[in-house]
Symmetry: C2
């Protein structure tokens, strides 16, 4: 039996946002590996072994998935959203690079998914319709000074900014600092979107102006999008739509 | 009859990457609107009116979709990838904001999809596993000086950089200038990925070092990902894997 490893993205939550490619890989798998709440999203099957783990053991989880594939198992390692955006794919390749040479002969595929910022943006309108950047505020992955530098440069570049993991357990003050910094350097009333658990039963969406945003609006399940200086809000009876126009100001002589 | 408009992402090309949510919206639609090659990706049906248009008429297409919905039709406006990333969603909201007030009462939903950079990243490994930014090099949307500023700031922030529409017809020299600028300011051998038509029969993937990258490696169907300074390549018999580690350097006292 030849093993393989598929590192698969389950999308933001709804079954209707799981790609058929991922569904098919799950149907062919012998082993399911992942953070327990993501493993719980896959229906049990008598011939599918489940290996659910805690959130704080990404490299262990990646090594387990690689070991199982090397032993001939058909393994799906599940992430929420897209596995390549602040999820398990990078952990797998870190483990692969540090692991036995034989692992480099394994059949490994990454199966993309709808990452949280795309689901959040779709719910709010089109805030990522122009150039943007994507930052992970999760704890322990980088020093605060680097986050601050990146936020300053992102505002200078006038990117819309998607912020993942704004309020982590180990660094709850991180988002408060990030938000205070953005309020200080932007000095305008650009829109900010707090999108929580999009596409699940716990979904909520808040659209505010940057000066009105407060840290407690975000929790572990919230994706925050800070508009660029060009991001606009359309008022509607059904709720506001937020979008960033496709064009940036083009000087008359260049158009 | 109550009309609606779904602005839907068909993903990068493969049927297996179209979400069930989009498939269901297409099954319920009375009218299909979009750029002709994307409309062609949807199977004909006797009760589905097709409105295919040229690439250069995004706002016209958006207005047509809104007019049809306002007339009570069930409209799906299709984009490749995700509609919110350099695709039709922003054009729809530009048209909506400038259009009749009654349009603000329409039932409009954006249905997310797997955008090209996620599919390209998955094929290459996990180059977007740490903070990154996403730029559209398409012509006529912004002055060159703004693109140059953003590229400089993105490198200073040490983002991985995803470049959409690198070689547009109206501005073929844009990508050559962008690449020359990146080579001049990065002064290292970070990996660059040229991912063409990922998930289609025309797929190709090239991984090079930045000094070896040349503009003609990109065309209209190519998505380019330039690594950060931390992006790594793992050599394997089946081809290289490119990934960006989750952690940036953390000073000893901060870890």
């Amino acid at each position: 039996m030849t093993g393989w490893l598929a590192v698969a993205g389950l999308g933001p939550g709804a079954e209707a946002l799981v790609t058929p490619e991922v569904t098919e890989a799950l149907a062919r798998a012998s082993d399911l590996v992942g953070y327990a709440p993501y493993v719980d999203r896959v229906a049990p099957r008598s011939d599918l072994l489940r290996h659910a783990s805690d959130n704080r053991v990404e490299l262990e989880r990646a090594r387990l998935a690689l070991e199982l594939a090397a032993a001939g198992r058909r393994v799906v390692l599940v992430s929420s959203g897209d596995p390549g955006v602040f999820a398990m794919a990078a952990a797998v390749f870190e483990a692969l690079e540090a692991g036995p040479a034989a692992w480099r002969g394994l059949d490994i595929r990454v199966l993309p998914g709808v990452t949280a910022m795309l689901a959040a943006a779709a719910r709010a309108g089109a805030p990522l319709g122009h150039d943007f950047c994507t930052l992970n505020l999760s704890d322990n992955l980088k020093p605060w000074s680097l986050i601050e530098t990146r936020l300053r440069l992102a505002v200078e570049a006038d990117f819309a900014i998607a912020l993942y993991n704004p309020r982590s357990q180990a660094r709850p003050e991180g988002f408060a600092r990030a938000l205070a910094l953005l309020q200080a350097i932007c000095r305008d009333a650009r829109p900010v979107i707090f999108a929580r658990a999009v596409s699940t039963g716990a979904e909520s969406l808040r659209v505010l102006r940057l000066p009105d945003a407060t840290p407690e609006l975000a929790d572990m399940r919230t994706l925050v999008i800070v508009g660029s200086s060009q991001t606009r809000v359309i008022d509607r009876p059904a709720g506001p739509l937020v979008y960033t126009p496709r064009s940036a100001a083009v000087p008359a002589e260049a158009s």
